[in-house]
Symmetry: C2
Subunit: 448 residues, 2 copies
Amino acid sequence: MNNQKQKISTEPYKGVRDFFPEDMFVQNYIFDKMKDTVKKFGYVEYGASVLESADLYRAKSGEEIVNEQTYNFIDRGGREVAMRPEMTPTLARMIAARRRELPTPIRWFSIPNLFRYENPQRGRLREHWQLNVDIFGVKGIEAETEVISVAHELMKAFGFKDNDFEVRINSRKITDYIIRDEFALNEEDGHKIVKLLDRKAKLPKEAFEEEVKNILGDKAQAFFTILNSKNFEEFVTAIPSVVDFCDCKGEVPEDKKEMVKAIAEIRELMASLEALGIGNVVFDQTIMRGFDYYTGIVFEIFDNNPANKRAVFGGGRYDDLLALFGNDKVPAVGFGTGDVIIRDLMETYGTLPKYTNETKLYICLAEESAMGFAQETAQDLREDGINVAIDYSGKKIGDQIKAADKMGIPYIVVIGGEEVKTGQLKVKNIVTGDEQTVADTELAKLLK
Amino acid sequence: MNNQKQKISTEPYKGVRDFFPEDMFVQNYIFDKMKDTVKKFGYVEYGASVLESADLYRAKSGEEIVNEQTYNFIDRGGREVAMRPEMTPTLARMIAARRRELPTPIRWFSIPNLFRYENPQRGRLREHWQLNVDIFGVKGIEAETEVISVAHELMKAFGFKDNDFEVRINSRKITDYIIRDEFALNEEDGHKIVKLLDRKAKLPKEAFEEEVKNILGDKAQAFFTILNSKNFEEFVTAIPSVVDFCDCKGEVPEDKKEMVKAIAEIRELMASLEALGIGNVVFDQTIMRGFDYYTGIVFEIFDNNPANKRAVFGGGRYDDLLALFGNDKVPAVGFGTGDVIIRDLMETYGTLPKYTNETKLYICLAEESAMGFAQETAQDLREDGINVAIDYSGKKIGDQIKAADKMGIPYIVVIGGEEVKTGQLKVKNIVTGDEQTVADTELAKLLK
């Protein structure tokens, strides 16, 4: 119909978000809570580029992630590059690079953006930001205790209550023992069982049981008994091959030592969390976590609300990862949580903060000749640490005030010829309607 | 020689940086100064993804940027995606999307990471972070005045003095007039002259003059006279076709109106900056700035130090950019500055901050049995807002103290059986060596 050039879309790329100031406000609120909380436990911030060599992810992540979900491409120099799908490989790379200089325990955190190629849906986007909290150099269960305490503290910082969520823990060593020793499954069947447990919540009960029977045959019933145990001690009792050794007394056969130790670790972890007042902890034998690199305790924080019913935090121990870089193994425990899920949860529980503009005063200009005076007044206030904006739009005063209100700026002052002459300024709080007239030199004191 | 698997490199991808805690500290210092300063002027933060549709950059950036320097690739859905090389197109897209809802003046800032495919060298990396500060909806020179004030204030916030740098301003309208009207060049020659001016500082004087002569022939001498004028008024005098009109009195011919207005704007801008105490401003007819979208005043902040001699900030007016999205034109002025150049400058001028760990107290564990007491003490302190780390390494006390010192944590306390029994804790400042013994319940007060 006309010669107009084709318009460019104002939409962002599929599956990623624009952060308008009110969105950025929530994002910063989330990041600030994360930072303040982890710093309380002595964690220091690190960072890295979103671009990494694709090799970094081939080594140890689940294969699916590298092949189908990673954004990767060949750069102009022929290098295969990936946009990081998770932070742990980058973290391990950095720790490995300075292994000898860094005193342990190393407590590091970061809030990187991560990319996954997937079809966007509620809570699953192509880009999200993820808090990563990791401690290196601690072999004992103190590391898990601390990291779970941090996660628990963070849930409270976001306004969630103990009965809104629960901490679910499991141990890779226990899972491995059950699969390899108790049920003597080969690698393929073991892998199938793990994947099945990971999908358990999403499958109808009958379908799940059917598939277990296909793999385990007549051992399925014993497996269901283990699976249906209501708490950790009942669970232990359901594993005939270790039940006699797991009071940690007497001689333990060599091939059961690791399992017995893993059982003791779960007990110790639950007790030490309890001692710190963290009571909403359950053992959950179905917690798997996706990544292959976990070697010990794995955990999730699970939202109890029927609207979400999903893991908010996930993490665990990964003692072997640094060996990929030719270093010795270094004990490591960490967790991650994302901005999207936290934001969804705050929406569900009504704890989202109300947008506030950090600008304190909006100067409305009644006439152009007052501009110099307005600029100097603003400059003086800024020197006193007050954030001030001036309306240069040339609109009617009423519209300027409306703009301030819409922007969420609490105080306004109108400056025109009269104010320039007398230096007397009428300051109005547009939320309460309160007005006060002061000399320009007294303005900073009033606003502080 | 052995069967060890091939090691993965601990190096980051070429041309991007890892931020170890001491680097992240500087990065956060730079970002915090940026945020605090721009907020004083009423700017609010926005953000977006580093991924954008490649179309966004084809439209208006310099061609070179889209074709040779942009990281772009085809995603699995067949979309051509780019990693943003600059923020302004994203910003314009977002403003265009909410043009009708947003009250003007719109004052927005962001500190995005940007990607360019180029060979890394000092000050030029493949990824850097760039503060972007933009004001929309202001036609008059107040916008330029404000934005340059913000840049100037920021330089001061980083510890630079007025004589360390200068603000260099020019006007696209003036450049266009000289090329199109004064020298009546065709588009190709005009483009050549602009590129030549952009490269002037990097070329030997003779080579530059030779190239100008090749383009301008016998008009070259008049061009050199304009170029060599020492200040703005001398510059104006060197343009015969407007010199008679630029006192802004009397009738101005239609074809000279824009040029006369542009001259008045430069004068007004310099006067209003002067009135705000910003005196280190010069007119520089060679300032071009790379992007095609500038429509009026362009400016740079230039570091005077011979070690750098380069632009630290750059920006200008770009009134037409929103029209790309099918909107009406919206007056816009903005600038950008990068973390790499700011960090280099702080190094040059010795204003880099010294690393400090935000963790206040390091608890050294003398024996494992004291762990519970140590954890509870730490928990109490954290509730009082104090950042506390516990050493779970099991190392000798001397080594634990050394670790605290190396991490930059100022206070330590050693907790063993005796401390658990008495509740009396000896707190030591490892910087000053001062020691003080207090009850565990008094610890928070002492550390605050």
